[in-house]
């Protein structure tokens, strides 16, 4: 090996990454070339300088946070198949639309069902966590100027978790999350207006009001509109329970806004 050949192998030599035969040849060259020996020493010292840099460890509280998040993620992952596979799962998705221009057809319902599935998989589905329906309503009002009615389903064992801002059909939407046992239940509000005719599904009458039902990705959905707003409800619950939730929301909104 001559100086030029050694020069080409200087870095892998110092890094201990040369093949055995190359290593032996390099050693033989170094033994007889002071200049290359000097270069090699300089390179080695430079490596040592870099290796001596402080090696910061992750702070204990950060380590604990990561552990907690992983464990939580494991629990959510365990709930998911049960949520998707059990008919008794009480996942409820409510959609209320107020803004003009939204066409809440099958695509919207499918989109919201997908969003519901997504949100139930993420670490913190609720941006604002509270069991207080009025507090969640106030949060939507302050955060995005949305007048959202948050119903209290606690007598039916459905606990409010919180709310988040979402997007549906390119519109800002409000999302309210509930929980029944281990099962998450979601509520959306997509500000939009839409004619009743735009809603797709099987027409069902419940306590004097018309609703449209549609099944998507294993979820039952119930949707309706009051002219200014479109409401949708998606769940793995039976339609009876969904319609009861829908009726309660309709009543709460009528009381609040006199609609």
């Amino acid at each position: 090996m001559n100086c030029i050949e050694f020069e080409a192998r200087l870095h892998p030599y110092v890094d201990g990454e040369l093949e055995m035969t190359d290593m032996a040849a390099a050693d033989a060259h170094l033994a007889q070339c002071a200049e290359c020996q000097g270069r090699m020493e300089q390179e080695r010292q430079f490596r040592q300088l870099l290796r001596r840099q402080p090696r910061e460890s992750a702070p204990p509280e950060f380590r604990a946070l990561i552990r907690a998040r992983v464990r939580r993620s494991a629990r959510v992952a365990a709930i998911r198949p049960w949520l998707l596979g059990t008919a008794a799962a009480a996942a409820v998705l409510l959609v209320m639309s107020l803004l003009p221009g939204l066409r809440p057809g099958q695509a919207l319902i499918t989109d919201l069902v997908s969003k519901h599935i997504t949100y139930t998989q993420i670490e913190q589905p609720a941006e604002f966590a509270s069991q207080d329906a009025r507090a969640v309503e106030a949060w939507f009002r302050q955060r995005a100027g949305l007048r959202v009615t948050v119903s209290d389903y606690s007598p039916s064992g459905i606990r409010l978790v919180g709310g988040r801002l979402a997007e549906a059909d390119d519109h800002k939407a409000a999302y309210v999350l509930y929980e029944k046992g281990h099962t998450l239940m979601s509520v959306f509000l997509v500000p939009a207006s839409a004619p009743a005719a735009a809603l797709k599904g099987t027409r069902v009458s419940y306590r004097g009001h018309d609703y449209l039902t549609l099944e998507r990705k294993g979820y039952n959905t119930v949707a309706w509109t009051d002219g200014k707003a479109v409401f949708g409800l998606v769940s793995m619950l039976g339609y009876d329970a969904l319609l009861e939730c829908a009726d309660k929301l309709r009543l709460d909104r009528a009381q609040r806004f006199g609609a």
């Binding site: 020069e7 890094d15 870099l50 840099q53 992750a58 993620s73 494991a74 992952a77």
Partner: protein, 192 residues
């Protein structure tokens, strides 16, 4: 409850196999982002991604390199999202032939020992910050974290030959920057 035992096992296995490498992820993220909050967010996202994809990790293969790959991909994704230039090419390609890698940046006329002794605490991080990402990442992995060429090639997803040339140019550039800092500190005179 029986159904809760399995997710617990899975997260424990992940903790034992992957989270033992949390320190290197943390340090690498700090050196990539230069911002603690951003680094912690990056590590958190990378860990959760790794956990969700843990079933794809092949036990017995290099978990450290696998995790660093995920961290790097997440970092590049964020850079792209932020509209930053992302590793378009190895910057060395444009200057190849201009200087020999091992000569570049060496403060000529001064003994190496003198130059190395003038490197102050924090200088290396400051100089690393100025390196192009393609060089910075390989230097961090090789020289500060001690990864092998093979591991680095896996993390940065390129052939070992490319790792070697980037390392060579990255080190030369780093040396040059450290030399400049030393001159700024006044410990080493301007080469005459």
């Amino acid at each position: 409850m029986l159904e809760w035992a399995r997710p617990g096992d899975r997260s424990r296995e992940f903790e034992d196999t992957a989270l033992v490498h949390l320190d290197i992820l943390y340090r690498s993220a700090l050196r990539l982002t230069h911002n603690r909050a951003e680094a912690e967010d990056l590590v958190q996202e990378a860990c959760l991604r790794a956990f969700r994809g843990f079933h794809r990790f092949n036990p017995g293969t290099n978990c450290r390199a696998w995790l660093l790959t995920i961290l790097r991909n997440e970092f590049l994704k964020r850079l792209k999202k932020g509209g930053h230039e992302v590793l378009d090419s190895d910057p060395g390609d444009r200057q190849r032939g201009a200087t020999s890698a091992t000569d570049a940046g060496r403060p000529r006329g001064h003994p190496e020992e003198e130059f190395l002794q003038t490197v102050l605490h924090g200088d290396v991080d400051r100089a690393l910050k100025a390196l192009p990402l393609a060089h910075r990442e390989v230097v961090i992995l090789a020289d500060l974290e001690g990864l092998s060429y093979k591991e680095i090639a896996q993390v940065v997803d390129c052939p070992i030959g490319t790792v070697m040339s980037r390392l060579s140019r990255g080190r030369a550039h780093l040396r040059d920057l450290l030399g400049r800092l030393a001159r700024e500190h006044g410990y080493v005179k301007e080469p005459g």
